[in-house]
Symmetry: C2
């Protein structure tokens, strides 16, 4: 991270940084697959009509046009629903994929999807124009048992726990709880209340109270109750009693309380210290209908949420057929940027190579390739020197590339291998020698 | 492959197809890393100026514009070198990356890069608008020993041999050989001759001869000699004698003969049957300066080249500093499409999950999660049923998703596991039971 991106908002990693990102991606993939999530990828582009289908859009979308198209169709792209644009998340494309392929999928369908997405927003710390997301979702056909909400939270807690990052907290709420509560106190524009509550962290309680009264016609008492609800934050299921103590009753509120209680109970039990019931979480503009989740890195709250999502009763629909879903999305680039800038982890070396096979003379290249093939056959990443320079130069080359071992074969076919960090040189056989396990593959070690 | 892409030229895979693609990508990654190639990714976009830097461009490029930009800047994009566009290959971005990060890289720098690229061309079999390429390159600072040309060919032969594809042939030529030969027979516009020879497969020898005479001023004898050279095709180094027999002498020709001989000799030795010296290979429009490679799947020649590339003396430059490179690019999407459409390989199941833990009653979910956690802890992909339906229904669910084993725990805590393919049910312990190794992870098996 000595460098800045040459194009603002489009980060690129050096090889040793990319190794950290690969470690993060491999770890997520392993955890997701252990939980039965299979991979899919969707194309990078959607039609503008598809992207704007949900109506209100607060993302800056990149439209596409062929450079060799002389007719200036591009300018009209936003008017043409069939024009192409880059996806800005993985949820909209996944919904489209589910509808298109419903006949080929077994429901509840669970998938992970790790891809780049693009948003033409002003770049800032933790906010890039091109970034990688890692999503998991379970989607049902017609119905989806609530238990998947609990499961998704557990999978994500396990996945994040496996990453080289500091302590994190899943902040979980439930839309039914909030909406039922607002209804119970007589505020009927529940979406409007959610939008106001969503601004709590940004503008503070006093201004939100004003908003609720001026824009939504709330009484001071109603506004106070809504804010009291949003103030509840417990690391266990104590929130249930705290909500009940506010004296509001509503069937939807009860349903939400029960759902949130189940999620918090399970995560407290299985991933202690990783969760908080936070009744201020609104995720205002999105189309969630139950569980909602945001995630903070403790001590790095200003980075924003590193993992968000929730439940939607209709992720997608096809005629009268509805596909409810629950899912979470990890901001991989945001996490990796932070891991690198704060030295939370680094690669043990910058190349996969464990061994450089040196050349004693220019004719030994083919014999050196034989040695290399034997080592590779046993999983040892190996390069062969390209020129029979002085051994000192070949060792220096390995050192510059961060390769820990150099292999020598003398004219009698006797093999030796040198650990160039310690200088120790020992006899070795291509058919049997192994580096110490910590040197076999690149390790990503926490700082 | 029962389906067609909903957007022409933008293929998407079903989960079981994606497993085949993942197998291909994992295999390439493993071989590349065993040979000391590290991963990098570059951003998906470049400036138009960067993309058009090489002058003549025969690729259809997708330009980008923000949909919410009302000023119609998009239409002018192709005029503005700072406008953004999607990359159409991985070579141009890699060259830019090398120049920008030269101070942080150890040369010769070797990297692999597996990413999507975009071309706004008319889609057809084997030609998509969005597709994945897997590139390896070695790039030097100032100079790059010729031996890397040999090495790159060997690495690619090994990588392709590890894929579930039919027999392939690397068709290799050398620009120095061809250009030296043309010069030696008195044809000075060697680039022009190459462009004509490049059309040989498309238009035939007679028309190429006409072109050489009408457009390049060749005599019938010169045209005949150029075509004779292009007709040489040998599976070993016999081409050297066949070229010499044409009686042409030129120092560049000699250099090219020697280089091509070294490459063919090494590949014949280390990857027998995988290579042919094919003196018709021109790769006309590209900027190669030595070794040039195309690759065909035997019996699927109409698919086009599945792996192409070569040597360029100046992959990139920074002032007077030159970065020569040699590299090859595998058309992953083209290969995977063919693997799927011809059933060359398929996944042993469509989900990563090996075990579904059934619920005997609704309260057993937490105990079932304990069983699942133990299995996952030993690398067994496991799902837990979401509802305590009748066992028959839970087994049917596993069957529909292609999960081979269902786990039962009775009220006394006794465990059994059923292979739902054979119906065999046996006692098992969560701490020790393992599925047969072929069922542990999804296998991609050749058809």
């Amino acid at each position: 991270m000595a460098r800045t991106a040459s194009l603002s908002g489009f980060p690129e990693w050096l090889p040793e940084e990319r190794l950290v990102e690969q470690h993060v991606l491999d770890t997520l993939r392993r955890v997701f697959e252990l939980h039965g999530f299979g991979s899919i990828e969707t194309r990078a582009v959607e039609t503008v009509g598809q992207l704007l289908r949900k109506g209100e859009i607060d993302k800056e979308v990149y439209g596409l046009s062929r450079l060799q198209d002389d007719e200036g169709n591009a300018a009209a792209a936003s008017q043409d629903p069939n024009a192409l644009a880059l996806h800005f998340d993985l949820t909209v494309p996944f919904a489209r994929y589910v509808v298109e392929n419903a006949g080929y999928l077994a429901f509840p369908f669970r998938r992970y999807q790790i891809q780049k997405v693009w948003r033409g927003e002003r770049p800032q710390e933790g906010r890039a124009r091109e970034f990688t997301q890692a999503d998991i979702d379970v989607v049902g056909d017609g119905e989806l048992p609530f238990r998947y909400d609990v499961e998704i939270a557990l999978v994500i807690a396990e996945a994040l726990s496996a990453l080289p990052i500091p302590e994190f907290k899943l902040r979980i709420n439930n839309r039914k709880l909030a909406e039922g509560f607002y209804r119970g106190i007589g505020l009927v524009d529940t979406a409007g209340v959610l939008r106001s509550i969503d601004k709590l962290e940004k503008i503070g309680a006093a201004r939100v109270s004003e908003l609720l009264q001026s824009e939504l016609g709330a009484t001071p008492e109603q506004a106070e109750l809504a804010l009291k609800l949003a103030g509840i934050r417990t690391e266990d299921t104590a929130f249930v009693e705290q909500v009940r103590a506010l004296g509001v009753t509503d069937p939807l509120l009860e349903e939400g309380l029960s759902e949130l209680e189940q999620v918090i109970h399970a995560v407290v039990q299985r991933a202690p210290g990783k969760v908080v019931a936070d009744l201020s979480i609104a995720r205002g503009l999105d189309y969630y209908t139950g569980t909602v989740v945001e995630t903070v890195l403790v001590g790095h709250e200003q980075l924003g949420s590193i993992c968000s999502g929730g439940r939607y009763d209709a992720l997608a629909s096809k005629g009268s057929r509805k596909f409810p879903g629950v899912g979470l999305s990890i901001g991989v680039t945001r996490l990796v940027s932070r891991i690198l800038s704060q030295d939370f982890a680094k690669a043990s070396r910058s190349v996969p190579t464990a061994v450089l096979v040196a050349l004693s003379n220019d004719d030994s290249w083919s014999a050196a390739q034989d040695v290399a093939a034997q080592l590779r056959g046993r999983g040892i990443s190996t390069e062969v020197a390209a020129k029979a320079e002085k051994f000192g130069k070949q060792i220096k080359f390995a050192d510059r590339r961060g390769i820990p071992f150099v292999w020598f074969t003398d004219d009698d076919g006797k093999h030796q291998v040198k650990d160039i960090r310690s200088g120790e040189q020992t006899d070795a056989e291509p058919a049997t020698w192994m580096p110490p396990s910590e040197d076999l593959a690149v390790q990503v070690v926490t700082g």
